[in-house]
Amino acid sequence: MNMAGLIDNLSRFLGAIGGFLTPMALFHMAWATLLGIVIGALPGLTATMGIALITTLTYKLPPDLAILVLICVYVGAIYGGSRTAILINIPGTPANAATTLDGFPLAMQGLAGRAMGVATSGSVLGSFIGMFFLATIAPLLGNYALKFQSFEFFWLSIFGIVISGHLTALEDPIKGWISGFLGLLVAMVGQEGIHAYERFTYGTTELLGGFSLIPAMVGAFGFAEVLSVMRHPPAKMAEAPRDSVFPRVRDVLQYWRTIIRSGLIGTLIGIIPGVGEDIGAWVSYAAARRKSKEREKFGKGSIEGLMAAETGNNAVVPGAIIPALTLAIPGSAPAAVLLAAMFIHGLRPGPLIMVESPQFVYQVVAMVFFATLAIFFYGVVLSKLLLKVLAIPKTRLMPIVFVLCAVGSYAITNRTFDIWVMIGFGILGYILREMKYPMAPLVLGIILGDLMDKNLRRGLVLTDGDLTPFFTRPICFVLWVITFSSILLSIPPIRHALKETFSIIQTRLRRIRK
């Protein structure tokens, strides 16, 4: 990018910042971030569920304010989950699972306030690092994606499903892949995009347009979660921290390397389709532990470990928005809802975004910026209110959440049918989750199904059935090699054989060096 381009982009960003400095935008920012933090802090309410439910409230808002609200909820929820992880050892959202490892031991040592401060600084800096890459990578990727043809888009969708399936079900990748391909199959229902033939509709007019994404997501992440939360016994009560929750500059300066590393890892994980904040936190945590000089403290109350986890998960948020904006492929499950909301509001994310509405990319960067400032503000002032919210019994909260699930599903097209879709996906989602099938690839599949369908068929028609371009075009080559390697490496005999080969090579190399 040349100097003029940089100045041009900077002025667009500053223009976007200025555009949101209105009382109405600031009001929406304030309530949405606060609600996001509360949703994140409450175990059982995840970021995905929160964004899916709040999307209902944004239908009548102007598009920029609607997306601002959803991004504030997203950033707030991922941060808010750290409070519960630190105070009661239960991650508020799956993204904060790694936070419990060191956050809770710190709270047990009477350092809950300091742990919250570390989580605040980690989350804020992680968001800023991710935001920097959102501002710099998204325009480049958007322009680069203009070169993509059907072959690339076909492989991108398969790549997304396979990698997301693998990374969200590391212990048993086949379950992640099944989940992803089931999602692709769900997307096949309804009128297909080339010849308008009705697939799997069996004469039902409601299914002509396929399953709407919002009711499906509200079911899989909302109703399924209500069922899951009610099945388990209530969580213990949280106690107020005795020390200050204000972030310490010393903690940031001491672990600046960890912060930058975790921010980079988080952003990168975010960019990978369908691999979300939880994986970002775990990978950042593992990397910090490997590189740490105080490795023995990890798991016993390490400030560095906590910083890595919280920086990593919040950096995923802007990272996950990058492919959503430029390729219309979400980087995480909450970003999938965000993408659906963008379509609902008439915005057209995808490779043409930098041609049609480059200003919108910078508006999104500005939204992340404001949401980050808001979590910093709430992180410092909010601690007693959150404890009160955490004290609400789930028997009183869950029926209200379910009422919102029903409204959220209905409101998009005013059809009772969508309420049944929500119930169906909720039951399916619950059963699949109980059997350790991840939900993110399912959602990604529902989104990518149409993309895969159109592009595979278009590609085959263009080449008259010749598969060669699908494998030989440079980007296709990289995508299929990674996709197939991921599958092959998850087959135990192949993995063992590769490990043995590497260890033999290593031993021989050592001998040669001696």
Binding site: H195, Y197, F200, V403, T416, L460
Partner: protein, 166 residues
Amino acid sequence: MPRADFITGLVLILFSFYVIIESWRMPRLEHLKIHPLSVPGIVPAFIGGVLLIFGLILTLRSIKRKGYRIKITAKELRQLLNHPGNQRLLLTAILSIGYAGFLIGNLSYGLATGLFIFLFITLFEWKQETMLKQRTKRLIMAIIIAVISSVAITLVFERLFLVTLP
């Protein structure tokens, strides 16, 4: 888990066969002179094929881990039903599906929502107390929460955010 995987694998195999057969039966649209590789059934058949492979792997793997030994005794079934977690799950499912699937549309939205919230709280919290005084207190609390929530949700969605309610 091997037993669950065995059953899931079998279900997946049957389901993928169904998908492949349905895809095969989809029209080839020859009268429109379309390219044979752009027929509507090609991608669902591909997905069905992949799911069939996964189903086979899941089944074979679970057979290796002796997942085919499925024998549910009456005692096990009773234990399953008597498990407090499963009872809570069942009650939640019945109340939620009853509300969303049947109450909504047959009663006015505010009344249906209030009734659902009241029933949900009361049924779950009734057993937590044994004293009549405490139970009455919880009952009153359930009524207050139900009324406030249904009024607030109706007002916020319909008036503030202009969303149409069921």
